[in-house]
Symmetry: C2
Subunit: 207 residues, 2 copies
């Protein structure tokens, strides 16, 4: 893999140098790079920088300004310490830069949801501690990894960046709609089953 | 556990008989049952039938009429066979009754999403087969189980049905909002990392 990595860095540097030197479409630059270095081994060279093309498609009209942790704490009523604990278990991601620790808008929203859910009655005192949320990032990590690896390995050499960005964002929307529907349906059916059987489903881990 | 089961069935039968015989609040009936049979062992007797109280709170204004599989196939363009395969991997649930196989509105919607995602370009031909979706129900099952077991074991003996139903539905809404945000954030960060490193994240399983 080290070889692939070096190869990749070389290709990436050449691509970037060409982009700076000549205002050519990426497809042309790619042809030049390939003529100099041969076919890429990774198969998804074209998709390097995909996040940039995805950015505008993922924006949803709300402001996407990040907030400092202290500001999020003040706005939500959560403690600074709890926010950092949620980051430690992976429920949110802290971006450290410009002499401070920031949450992007999505992570701000997650903290707002947690604050609301505590206000609803899911409090640490009755067992809804920070640690009790650790299963979510674990599962999400697996789903995300599967989605990303699947996407690049199936489509990395078939699409240009604009097409790939559009498709990737559609895929993310699909998951965002499908997963909650599945979760609600599964929970309701499980509750029905508990009522019918009087028994809780088996749980391998401590709840 | 067999003992708890028998005990539960007895309590449930007594509760139902009392409900039919006398129009009393459930709290009063519970007191009668407890006076006849002692404290329940399970600790969530009060929540038996919770799905009924949750029903109206989960309705979202759309019609919740179920559809027959044939109708869903016609409306979405998916084949009858594919719909049954999605059920076989657990992505959707088929309800067999009244001489037919039905999907409830949530499962109809999941099939509509899948049809749209195929139209977008995530086709079986390039690898997005029915089987490639199997990871989702596996993960969702674990999340749902954790949520349900956690809820009953922490709150089963603390809340009456209306309060529990309200809280449970709030909890479901929390998960429905939080999980997609986490998923989007994780995928975007992973894409950034792929661009930066030129390497795909490790995937334990075949993608």
């Amino acid at each position: 893999r080290g070889n692939v990595r070096t190869e990749h860095v070389k290709r990436l540097n050449l691509t970037r140098r060409l982009q700076q030197e000549r205002p050519l479409p990426l497809s042309v630059i790619k042809t030049i790079v390939t003529s100099e270095m041969g076919q890429p081994q990774g198969g998804f060279e074209e998709l390097i920088g995909l996040e940039v093309a995805m950015g505008p498609l993922l924006a949803d009209g709300r402001t996407l300004a990040p907030k400092r942790i202290g500001e999020v704490a003040k706005d939500t009523g959560l403690s600074d310490d709890d926010i950092r604990k949620f980051a430690a278990i992976g429920l949110i991601q802290i971006d450290s830069r410009k002499g401070g620790d920031w949450l992007n808008q999505r992570n701000v929203k997650i903290m707002e949801i947690i604050a609301q859910t505590r206000a609803d009655g899911f409090t640490p005192e009755i067992g809804y501690t920070v640690e009790s949320y650790a299963i979510y990032p674990q599962m999400i990590e697996l789903l995300a990894r599967r989605a990303v690896v699947g996407f690049y390995s199936r489509l990395g050499d078939k699409l240009d960046q604009p097409a790939a960005a559009k498709l990737a964002v559609n895929g993310i929307r699909t998951l965002s709609e499908m997963v909650p529907l599945m979760l609600i349906d599964r929970i309701v059916r499980m509750v029905e089953k508990v009522s019918e059987s009087g028994k809780l489903p088996a749980s391998d881990e401590d709840v």
